[in-house]
Symmetry: C2
Subunit: 255 residues, 2 copies
């Protein structure tokens, strides 16, 4: 398929490279900052533009990968009539694309992306939705050309997938960040935690997280938890987080 | 070295296999439940006992790997005089071993262990302490026979390492558990999150967690966060956790 990208951030960059590797033709990259569009377009070997009126008419599919809160406004400026338009967001309905085209849908990858890390797409779960059966079949086919884990979904399920990903990725990463801060305060290196972090994520690939839970709260070891809260006495915010997550673990095992 | 294990749980099992593979001689496994001692001893090809008075005198080093809150009481029942005695705990001082021997110390691996997963020890960080220079050299040598990441430490640092591991492992795993619960409630499979969980842990091996933070709170996207809290309206406990961790992320980037 001939593809145009609207947006050139982490998600767009990763999907664009995967689609190109799968044999699709990248036609154009739009970004309101020309420099961003140029960077990705150059790597893909296609045109770049920062002007919506210059958007190509040659693509079969337009992939909108911009911040959630600007998708609707951007779609309102597009007049793509009968071209297929999709977005890649977890928490935005597909109907916001109605203004842009009669054929629209969602191509939602459940993964965290960064430009520096181009991922193997074969195992990345994609969730697809569309305005009509034909568009759905096309989006599904596009997703299956890069991933072995494509599932038809609906907006209610997609919202829950996105919310669960906030817990399992964004909040998890913040805990990594907080633990690094704790170590730095005591002149200790975050390096020491890296094997533990990796093993915790590896273990849950084969062991149910509830069964694999360890630590003082799992054992309801009040003595250690009290000592930990004392160690955090100069950081009320970390104390709250420690207390709340420990209570939640204790509750899930001991009540 | 000739080694005796007091305890036969996840930590003891993993360390015992690593030491045996490194050429050390396992002499005996003690557990107050004989079945537990037998299971590990059989795999190691050594004696098992559930009676402290039958504890071997033939070992050079006794490794105590039992729950934190029983180490001191157990050490009080041992009379190992001039034998080296160590424990493997993150939050227990080495002085609780004074009653057991004149030579004691700590061999603390910063990792999460389960009997089902025997890990590669070469990259596991070990933190060592001892009552005296000679014991320290011996414990360090023992640790270096299985790991390339051995560091001398003190109790203050070890406590902070253990506390940071609670954030980066135990709390992280609980977030995995909560996200699985969320998905299950909506007939969605935890399988969908596994690539995301792995990538989040892999990314932080090379990208600082603060720099790698993504998600609605990172962007201070109040609209998405409000929608997420509404999705959790039937689960006050998850709402609190969502709110507290989101506030913490927003604070660390936007204040």
């Amino acid at each position: 398929m001939k593809i145009a990208f609207i947006g050139s951030g982490n998600v767009a960059t990763n999907i664009a490279f995967a689609l190109k590797a799968a044999g699709h033709q990248m036609v154009q990259v739009f970004n309101h900052r020309l420099q961003g569009a140029l960077e990705l377009a150059e790597q893909l070997g296609c045109e770049a533009t920062a002007t919506l009126s210059e958007l190509t008419h040659q693509a079969d599919c337009y992939i909108i990968s911009v911040k959630d809160d600007v998708i609707e406004a951007l779609a309102g400026q597009l007049q793509l009539n009968d071209k297929l338009v999709v977005h890649t967001a977890g928490s935005v309905s597909m109907e916001v694309l109605q203004k842009a085209s009669n054929y629209y849908g969602v191509l939602y990858p459940l993964q965290t992306f960064s430009k520096q890390r181009l991922l193997d797409f074969s195992t990345i779960p994609f969730f697809v939705e569309a305005s009509d059966d034909e568009s759905l079949a096309t989006i599904e086919q596009l997703a299956k050309s890069i991933s072995n884990a494509v599932t038809r979904t609906n907006f209610e399920q997609r919202k829950m997938l996105h919310l669960s990903a906030v817990f399992a990725c964004n909040f998890v990463n913040h805990l990594y960040d907080l633990s690094e801060g704790l170590l730095k305060e005591h002149n200790l290196s975050f390096e020491a935690l890296k094997p533990l972090i990796l093993e915790t994520a590896l273990k849950v690939q084969s062991v149910n997280p509830h069964d694999g839970q360890t630590g003082p709260a799992r054992r309801n070891d009040q003595e250690v938890m009290t000592k930990h809260l004392q160690l955090l006495s100069n950081n009320q915010s970390l104390q709250y987080i420690y207390q709340l997550l420990s209570d939640s673990i204790v509750k899930s095992f001991h009540k």
